[in-house]
Amino acid sequence: MRVELNDLTKRWGNVTGADNISLDIQSGEFVAFLGPSGCGKTTTLLMVAGIYKPTAGEIRFDDRVVNQVPPKDRNIGMVFQSYALYPHMSVRQNIGYPLKLKKSPAAEMEQRVQRVADMMGIGHLLDRRPAQLSGGQQQRVALGRALVKEPSLLLFDEPLSNLDARLRLTMRSEIKRLQLDLGITSIYVTHDQVEAMTMADRIAVMQEGKLQAYAPPNELYERPRTTFIAGFVGNPPMNLFDVQLMREGDRYLAKRQGLEFELPPERGSRAAAKAEVTVGIRPEDITLLPDAAGSNEGSQGEVFVVEPLGRDNLVDVRFDDLHLFVLADPRQTLKIGDPVRLQFDGDKVQLFDPETEYSLLWT
């Protein structure tokens, strides 16, 4: 089923939950709503579910406007962060509840519950109560309940946030795999950009009720359109700082107290009109070089903190009042206070207008 949101808005008095959200979701597509808490992603999801009534705009399922359709008639399945299992019902009753409400025949119901439970690997737990299950098992029950009625749209509201880190990884790939196999159009709300990046076909980044971007994950990553997206997508986050832009012949120099580097002409020229720009550079696009005394190349800073992450070391390098995060090879021995030089990968440098916060490179 295709889903289309046109200028969708939700207001309570003068509080705006969602502001003119427009996007379309193709049939079978997996879309993530990504943003910090309070950004309007759950509000939008609940409007799609039919729990909140939109203040303005429309929601279309295929070509039908469903603004006035109650949730029970929308044929959607939903999975919650809190699992939202009915505590007074057994697993069997929980999964079978949507079918019971549809008045399915008992035999068919039993069969479908068993099939879904087996698919989720909880077939042996059908007679337990939710309180007797672990968090992961409860989430599987919730998923089974959402799937049993064969919905045309699946809604996930931060379903993995209550699980421990390892289980989150497993469930992440399971949900992704399941969605691919069943081909059900899905909306997945999360504040975890790793989840959004790994699972979604397209990500809708939201901030303060507004849709900031709607693009496939790698495009968001490679070509962030605003400083917010640049800072939010990617882990560890992109370094963002303001510099003075100087032009010396064909060379574009970015300067800041204690820091100076050259921008490649094809990128620098896009910012030529600005005296001051915001530079964005990801920690993995900076190379850390031991300080060679007397060298004029690059910029000189000192190691402030080293966080070993296993595969890499995350190094906090200080230039006066500016802290830059750099991913460095852990074999490189670094002590706090060591002088270091940084080399930026110029082709990865992002440039933003400090006033509008829009990218100077991508529109």
Binding site: A49, I51, P71, F80, A84, H88, Y97, L101, R145
Partner: protein, 475 residues
């Protein structure tokens, strides 16, 4: 870690302060026992010396027997008790000697033996007097009350003693800790429920009334109960009581309360709050004012509000409604007051249901009715149990609105319920003859009914299933 704690527990003499408290309690207890005993002995001697008449002796607390000679029949127990106390005292004294590891154990031995003997004395003295249909003497009553007090102290002291003695056995100590935790609550229940119930029962076995209250009580066995059960109106009162409780509970205290809670929980918060406040008004209105308002509503034309409204529709010449259909008004009047309690409990329970559950059910395909039937009501099981149980009991013993509205009438016993009968027999009679003992019999049976109903409710609702295992272990 655990070893450390155990060591600390042994090193710190926790009973340090408790010891003095217990000593004080012991002294107090001894005073309570010894002084009445001394008093009795002195009175006994004085009677001989002053040649008191039997009547005079009775007024100061001694007993007159048929032969006019012997003062006290339970002398065996009277002497046995101090004897047992003395033995305990001696045994305890050995333990109290310096150099003993735990002197307060000796103190406990003293206390326990003394209290036990006093309890035995009081109980036997009373039972012997009662069994022989003698007038219950003052000292027997005194003995009983001291015995209750002593039993209480015994309970507390015994618990503490057991706790001290069982320092090395964790499981046993955990069980004792549980009892200690419950002690404040249990004490309240004992003092304010069990003891009054027992006193009520004892009272109901006598003939105490305003006609003879200056005399010592006379034990009349179960006469009051026989009289009660053979009362011509007993079946009527019983039926009235059940009718009153069931109708009010079903339609108002639970039914209307649930409806109000569901309605006010599903409108905006402010409106819901306003309506709940409105429904609290009957509760906070003084009962006399409240009843006068109802009477004004039901009055004949042209005063009655109801009849004025009926008049607007052309229905004329209607009667004063309360004597016309007294039961409707008894239930209405009580129900409007009673609904607020359940409403508040249910509202908070409904608001405590996580929003996700409601959303999940809606998405699963539940309409409003299915939502209430499948999600809200099952999750209200515990508040429902609580309100049904609590309100059954409070309705069973309530009578003030009926007293004010119909006073059990119109006519004979039309709306008279059990509690009202008990009240009238004990405290309100036409000729000022308050039959306290007879009223106590009615009251005691009501207590029994209430107790049986509570246990039944807990069984039927499977209360134990609703209680979660404690999540905190006592170390």
């Amino acid at each position: 870690m655990v070893t450390n704690q155990t060591e600390t527990a042994i090193q710190v003499p926790r009973a340090g302060r408790g010891r003095w408290l217990l000593l004080a309690a012991g002294l107090l207890l001894l005073g309570c026992i010894v002084l009445p005993w001394l008093r009795f002995v002195i009175i006994a001697d004085q009677r001989v010396a002053l040649s008191l008449t039997g009547q005079q002796a009775a007024t100061i607390g001694a007993i007159e027997t048929t032969d006019g000679g012997l003062l006290y029949r339970s002398s065996f127990w009277l002497f046995f008790a101090p004897l047992a106390g003395a033995v305990g005292l001696a045994l305890g004294a050995i333990n109290l000697l310096p150099g003993r590891s735990a002197p307060w154990h000796g103190l406990f031995a003293v206390l326990i033996s003394v209290t036990a003997s006093v309890a035995v004395w009081g109980a036997f003295a009373a039972s012997q007097e009662i069994a022989q249909k003698q007038k219950v003497a003052v000292e027997a009553q005194l003995g009983l009350s001291v015995a209750f007090m002593a039993l209480l102290l015994l309970l507390v002291g015994g618990l503490i003693l057991l706790r001290e003695a069982s320092g090395q056995k964790p499981a046993f100590r955990a069980a004792l800790d549980a009892l200690n935790f419950m002690a404040p609550g249990s004490l309240l229940v004992i003092v304010f429920f069990f003891l009054p119930a027992i006193i009520l029962f004892i009272l109901s076995l006598t003939d105490l009334s305003s006609a003879n209250f200056s005399e010592p009580w006379t034990y009349v066995g179960f006469d009051n109960y026989k009289r009660m059960f053979s009362d011509r109106f007993f079946p009527k009162i019983l039926r009235n009581t059940f009718q009153y409780v069931i109708l009010t509970l079903l339609f108002f205290n639970v039914g209307l309360a649930l409806l109000l809670a569901l309605l006010t929980a599903h409108v905006s918060r402010r409106v819901g709050f306003f309506f709940r406040l409105l429904w609290l008004l009957p509760r906070i209105t003084p009962s006399v004012v409240y009843i006068v308002m109802w009477q004004r509503i039901a009055q004949q034309p042209p005063y009655g509000i109801l009849n004025q409204i009926l008049g607007l529709f052309g229905v004329e010449n209607q009667p004063y409604w309360i004597p016309e259909s007294p039961w409707v008004f008894v239930v209405l009047v009580n129900g409007f007051v009673g609904a607020s309690f359940g409403m508040i409990i249910f509202t908070s329970a409904i608001e405590a249901i996580p929003a996700d559950l409601i959303i999940a059910a809606k998405v699963d395909g539940a309409g409003n009715l299915a939502l209430i039937r499948d999600i809200t009501l099952p999750l209200l099981r515990w508040p429902l149990l609580f309100v049904v149980t609590y309100q059954t009991l409070s309705l069973l013993v309530s009578f003030e609105y009926i007293l004010l509205l119909t006073n059990g009438g119109p006519g004979l016993f039309t709306t008279e319920v059990w509690a009202l009968t008990a009240y009238k027999r004990a405290l309100q009679t036409y000729f000022g003859s308050n039959q306290w003992a007879y009223g106590a019999a009615w009251g005691f049976v009501l207590v029994l009914i209430g107790a049986i109903l509570s246990v039944t409710y807990l069984r039927v609702f499977r209360f134990n299933d609703l209680v979660q295992e404690p999540k905190i272990d006592v170390l």
